[in-house]
Symmetry: C2
Subunit: 521 residues, 2 copies
């Protein structure tokens, strides 16, 4: 998911380098004309075979997979759509187009279905392609908008200071408007501030159509994905609940018809909402709810540590209450990823700037502040146990979620900064992550070597490899401090480690802290 | 659940008046001696028949029902326990003892099982009795503590100002200690600040035992009920999850053995926690979680109203996500009842005053402030629609929960105060409540009469009778304003009412507000 802007003429031999090091020359104007002619011809053929043309704007984490999923839709055993993924002809973005053209999924994921779907679309059925050219929007029966919309900063102190970087999104919509057929559906999947579809997308498209002298109201709808990274990524698109709404009844009908061909609606009936603002609000509310629930537990984590209680045990007892308490969160390391770290801000910005309403989402914005502060809390626990200056600390787990490779906005990056500020050297281990874009200078080491070199080990992510880790591998290094932020070390293992001269401390593990104090007396 | 204090000698002919108007003379010393002699004799006989003696301290909302439930426990078809309910010989409390002695449940509830259990214990099996005499604690194998522990005020601005009225609870524990056998189990069921059992109950009992020259460590445990008012009250004790912890391993074992005879542990296995502080924390965390979830939605309610969205529709769409979002709350009128309005404060007080910890539960305390502010929000919505001075407003529903009679801390009482401050006359209707102790001056009227007399109807509680209300009964009064705070009026009904000249406004119903504005243009 990258910004789509007016076509540029890149200087010759500009290279676009992918996350895995593959390098691709960004096409010049001539190459792009040739590519567009080919795509145009293939789209014409596909249409002649009864396919409709879907263009996905943005080949990022959602768009690339959405393109492959749409290409996989069939009727009567034959492809239903010819799908064109579009991204920018820039060094930062072009590699996504180029990888897809080579039938390589341009996202890192633990779900093998993604590559299988890409292969099926690009190689077998030949109904999936990609291009770095906005003229592709002219070919579309449906444009699916999957570009990013970001906040201006990573963190805001208060509801009043929230700022959103809306212009790149507007430019992307404008690019569509420059080419769109007036009868084509524009389905916005991007998470946007509530009000954006009605107040920004529709007027912008209307303006661009009018500029071309095209009459007719554009067909615009909003529907939000609920993609989960990990092993069931594709399933989280195809087999999961979907809400949507049209800017007009006709647009709602068109969106309903399109989504019904992509999603298993027999089992997961679509939910049509009253207006696009409701659909937009639902998405940011969902993620804000989760962020607020996490913040609530962070607050009680501090309390439990102060009063000597094992909060994990308490939460297991509380979570038996099905339907009311079973979604209660666990103490942890903070919040990462793309959604929970920004969607509350998008909500506030829409309320304030699109509606001019005097409503502050203080609980929501405050919850995000608490979540962002959690890596500092882990640092304080560690600093309480040992001086950090000159020490080496192993960060065991750097992704933002267990058993995935995704490091986007991972709180481990903030923790790493804090450790370095405190004078520590950081080394890393993560069975899923080879390259850490947010912290490129950190050395990645095999686990035993890393333990051997470290004064402290921070278990930061609940990866399977750490849950099954034999404590003897830690116990070899006497004097080590283990900071468990994810309820990985059981009380029995903590005792075993203690016997070997390894001290364990933990987020939410107030009972360990109490025992430490009692022993110190 | 009332405070238990040192025995008093009430002046003769003091009457104790129950909620239903029944009046009972508070017994004098002589009458109490006689009553105690009878109970002592009956307990001796029961013990000879193999029963153990359980004394329940406090015959309030939980204690009275707990006593009946314990009396209902059997083994081999015979009663397992002889149960003595204890409350104070005061005008405020004695009626509970007297009613139980007459085999009348001293609580109002929609659950017919309560009266059935009381009849079975008092009349049929004759293993349930009551007395206003602390000497009963001397007879106990198990004392169950179900007295109240209250906050000093109803509302606190900040974490730092939270105050708890701990002394009555300490006095109640001291009364037990004056008589307790050292081998008896004291099971605290009262919701207490975390740390209370270990730091207050155990030392107080130890002190009282020592004062009597009795050696031995008292057996003390904590376990919290999860009683739900309404039609399944008894089931919420007998057939629901229970956590508990002992102050010592022996006390934990004794509590486990006792609870296993009361609760269907085959289906709802007991959860033993590491220490009593964990058990206490679990209870206040559970209720604070719910209060925080409600506050979160209150905040988004204001946002949805401001941007023209129907938040109920959005929440239905969000709640399909099982396990993560299906417990999301609905917009409403505020929070009432005994637990959600105080337990966050108990948590903060324990952390600050029992542990001296510098941890502020800001999210939790802030959430409670938001919840307490919701009746004012409803008032503002109503005042936006019509001047309130000199008008008559019907409060339809006054309990704090749908389809129950319980008015404890109901936000409708606050709303009633606000209406009166604004110069309105309040009339009330509630199919479950005949007498409103918090607002004794409000006239209760039959529904149609009340509608006929009113300028506005506030649907404040989601009682069944309102959900099925024929809108024509409201439509008869043209010019009426209906404030729906509980998603009772559908969009179709709102249109029907509008056609009859009745305007509907609603909490969380941003789309109605938007339509109103569009029509006003």
């Amino acid at each position: 998911m990258r910004r789509i802007e007016a076509p540029l003429s890149p200087a010759p031999r500009v290279e676009s380098v992918a996350f895995d090091g593959s390098s691709f020359p960004v096409p010049d104007d001539e190459a792009r004309d040739e590519a567009f002619a080919r795509v145009e011809e293939r789209a014409r053929e596909a249409r002649a075979q009864g396919m409709r043309i879907v263009v996905v704007q943005g080949l990022g984490f959602v768009g690339a997979v959405m393109a492959a999923v749409v290409a996989n839709a069939s009727h009567g055993g034959r492809p239903r759509y010819f799908v064109i993924g579009v991204d920018l002809p820039t060094a930062a973005a072009y590699w996504k187009v180029a990888m897809l053209l080579e039938s390589r999924a341009p996202v890192v994921s633990e779900d093998p279905a993604i590559q299988a779907y890409v292969d099926r679309g690009v190689r077998e059925r030949r109904n999936l392609t990609a291009i770095a050219d906005e003229r592709a929007y002219a070919l579309a029966d449906v444009v699916v908008v999957d570009v990013q919309l970001d906040v201006a900063e990573r963190y805001f102190e208060s509801a009043g200071s929230v700022a959103v970087d809306i212009e790149p999104f507007r430019a992307a919509i404008r690019a569509i408007g420059r080419h769109l057929r007036p009868d084509a559906l524009v389905l916005v999947e991007t998470t946007v501030p509530p009000g954006t579809t009605a107040q920004l997308v529709v007027p912008t498209l209307r303006e661009e159509l009018a500029r071309r002298g095209v009459t007719g109201e554009p067909l615009v709808a909003h529907s939000y994905e609920r993609v989960m990274p990990g092993r069931h990524y594709v399933r989280s698109i195809e087999r999961f609940w979907r809400s949507f709404a049209g800017a007009t009844p006709e647009a709602g009908d068109a969106a309903e018809a399109f989504l019904s061909t992509i999603i298993a609606v027999d089992e997961y009936p679509l939910q049509r909402l009253g207006d696009t603002t409701a659909s937009e609000l639902a998405k940011v509310l969902e993620n804000s709810y989760r962020a607020a629930n996490i913040a609530f537990i962070h607050e009680w984590t501090r309390a439990a540590e102060a009063i000597g209680v094992n909060l994990f045990e308490v939460i297991r007892a509380v979570a038996v209450r099905k339907g009311t308490h079973d979604n209660i969160m666990r103490p942890g390391f903070g919040v990462g990823g793309y959604c929970l770290t920004k969607d509350g801000y998008l909500a506030q910005w829409g309320v304030t700037h699109l509606f001019g309403a005097d409503v502050s989402l203080d609980v929501t914005i405050g919850a995000m502040a608490i979540n962002f502060a959690m890596p500092r809390h882990s640092l304080e626990l560690l600093a309480e146990a040992m001086p950090l200056e000159g020490r080496t600390v192993l960060l065991a787990g750097i992704s933002y979620l267990s058993d995935v490779a995704d490091t986007r906005n991972s709180p481990t990056a903030d923790f790493c900064d804090l450790l370095r500020e405190a004078g520590a050297t950081v080394v890393a281990h993560d069975p899923y992550v080879r390259h850490w874009p947010e912290q490129p200078d950190v050395a990645h080491l095999p686990l035993d070597e890393a333990i051997g070199r470290s004064d402290a080990v921070v278990l930061a992510v609940r990866h399977q490899a750490y849950l099954t880790l034999d404590p003897r591998r830690l116990a070899r290094r006497s004097g080590l401090v283990v900071l468990d932020t994810q309820d990985i070390v059981s009380d029995a293992k903590a005792e075993e480690l203690r016997a070997a001269g390894v001290r364990t401390i933990g987020v939410g593990k107030g009972h360990w802290r109490r025992l430490d104090r009692e022993r110190a007396r």
